[in-house]
């Protein structure tokens, strides 16, 4: 089980069945904690739907009391190929 965190302006952005593209950060313990990835994923308000868990922060860093589950489908590379 991995623990992830996302910043959104509204939790409505996470609802619905569609596949989402999100910038999430890992909360797994260790020196890489809080580093980001851009991913394709599915998010569910049912914390048992997916193995990985997601917590949410709002516009100015406020932690939402709601928890979600998340399935990371793959990493998205936004950086232009010339820099890779």
């Amino acid at each position: 089980m991995n623990l992830w965190e996302v910043f959104v302006d509204s939790e409505k952005e996470l609802l619905g069945d569609a596949e989402l593209e999100l910038t999430i950060r890992t909360l797994n313990p260790g020196i890489h904690k809080f580093t980001y990835k851009r991913v394709r994923c599915q998010v569910s308000a049912d914390t048992k739907q997916h193995a990985d868990q997601l917590q949410v922060r709002l516009g100015r860093g406020q932690l939402s009391k709601n928890r979600y589950s998340i399935k990371v489908l793959g990493e998205v590379q936004r950086m232009p190929a010339k820099y890779l």
Binding site: F7, R25, G61, P80
Partner: protein, 482 residues
């Protein structure tokens, strides 16, 4: 006493004078270190030197380096007991002299090259990058540092303190405001040409190099550091670019700024005492090389409510640089002071009011200058008011500033996205508004019959009565006055 040449010499001097404490127990990089620094700032306590960091053996932290005037005095090699006007006069004396050019030393003599990470070894997470405040958008690598760049056409060097958040092991994103030197170089040259901009971030600088990096002075920062220190600053060439960095810095990150790729940055606790600027796509830095000293110390400024160096040091240098500017234009100013608790938003200017409109002239010059985006209130008082004494300034403001005639508002001027009072639209586009509070008696009033007389102990009683009353004060039964 010589000014400390490095962060290490500065820590030693602060410990000796009681202005820093050595924390030997292990401290967590996630929140705990930040919370210690924050509390020290709010209590105006000694700076914490944290020698043991969880997960990061061989590294230490030094927090709140210049958040008290005592430590500012120590950084300049002055007695920590020096008063603010004394420190200010010394800053003006040193920075009005001849620029002192830096010297470039051999890399084998540069402490910052003791450890070098390149290629696949580059990982910012190998450094103890702190989570400064709970709820921040990320761990901040750069909170007390200098981003070193060179102007692509003019060739002059810029050291600027622009916050940098770690996005992943090799990527940082930061708030480089559009009106800053780096912001202008990026928008005028690198972005239109689609070229990457080489940069180096130096962390754990000598306190005077850090002071120069956040001073709004037109003098290039390496020369300004030399002037402040009274001797040349030692630089060394980078591993991966032609840039030169302070050789005694604790940690150096080298890399490139992308012209056409940005990642999210923020939110972050800011000098206004709030998290105001929104999370947004901001200037993005790719790190290609990390060099650092053995037992490197990472410096942390924790911005929030007063007082930290974001307010104290910036108020100090913004006020003094404005004083230089106003004097250079022949305006009869007697002093300029920014109270750190105004979060460097209010300039208090003392002036000999020998002609009408001088308050507006001061305001327009101040707001129209390079310093202007950083404050939005100018309060002008006459030379009889002690600008360092808020009680006197506040009394003048509340009694002399005519609500209909003496408050002058300017709209649509440069501001910052950090202004808590600004609307979301104004924040996004760095739009500001400004106000001048003219607390001078109008020059067309008859000074004898129309200007009110200040009724105070010092102003209305003859000197012999004042001396008698002060001399007898304890005899009257009062405790002594400090």
């Amino acid at each position: 006493m010589a000014a400390p040449r490095s962060n290490r010499e500065f820590i030693e001097a602060c410990i000796k004078s009681g202005d820093a404490v050595r924390i030997k127990q292990e401290v967590d990089w996630e929140n705990e270190a930040g919370a210690i620094v924050r509390r020290a700032c709010e209590l105006e306590a000694a700076a914490p030197f944290m020698e043991k960091i969880k997960d990061y053996p061989g590294f230490s932290y030094f927090g709140a380096p210049l958040s008290t005037y005592r430590r500012v005095a120590i950084s300049m090699g002055m007695d920590p007991e020096s008063t603010l006007p004394e420190i200010g006069r010394e800053y003006l004396k040193r920075t009005n002299g001849e620029p002192i050019a830096p010297v470039v030393i051999d890399r084998k003599d540069a402490p910052c090259k003791e450890n070098i990470l390149k290629g696949a070894d580059v990982d910012l997470c190998k450094l103890p990058v702190p989570l400064v405040h709970e709820g921040d958008g990320g761990r901040y690598v750069g909170t007390w540092h200098a981003v070193v760049t060179r102007h692509p056409v003019r060739g002059d060097v810029n050291w600027g303190m622009y916050r940098q958040m770690m996005w992943d092991s090799r990527t940082m994103s930061g708030a480089v405001f559009p009106f800053s030197d780096l912001g202008k170089a990026l928008s005028s040259f690198y972005l239109p040409r689609g070229e990457t901009c080489p940069f180096a971030t130096a962390i754990g600088l000598s306190p005077l190099a850090a002071m120069a990096a956040c001073a709004p002075s037109p003098i290039p920062e390496p020369e300004l550091t030399g002037m402040l220190a009274g001797e040349p600053v030692r630089l060394v060439k980078c591993e991966t670019s032609d840039l030169e960095v302070p050789a005694d810095a604790e940690i150096i990150l080298e890399g490139e700024i992308f012209p056409d790729y940005q990642v999210e940055e923020g939110p972050f606790g800011e000098y206004t005492g709030y998290r105001t600027s929104p999370r947004d796509f901001r200037v993005t830095f790719r790190v290609n090389c990390i060099t650092y000293r053995n037992i490197a110390t990472m410096t942390i400024s924790n911005m929030g409510v007063p007082q930290d160096e974001g307010q104290l040091l910036r108020s100090f240098s913004l006020g003094l640089e404005l004083e230089k500017l106003l004097k250079s234009q022949g305006i009869p100013v007697t002093g300029v002071y920014m109270h750190p608790r105004s979060t460097h938003h209010m300039m208090i200017v003392g002036v000999k009011p020998t002609y009408s409109g001088v308050a507006q002239q001061i305001g327009q010059l101040a707001f129209g200058s390079k310093l202007g985006p950083w404050f939005h209130m100018v309060m002008v008082v006459d030379d009889k008011i002690d600008i360092f004494n808020w009680d006197e300034v506040y009394h003048a403001f509340c009694t002399r500033c005519h609500p209909a005639n003496d408050i002058h508002i300017y709209r649509n001027s440069p501001g910052t996205s950090l202004n808590p009072f600004a609307s979301p639209h104004e924040r996004k586009y760095s739009i500001g508004s400004k106000v001048v509070f003219d607390c001078l008696w109008p020059t067309d009033w008859d000074p004898v019959n129309e200007v009110p007389t200040l009724v105070s102990f010092k102003n209305v009683y003859p000197q012999d009565i004042q001396d008698k009353v002060t001399g007898n004060w304890t005899a009257y039964g009062y405790p002594p006055v400090k």
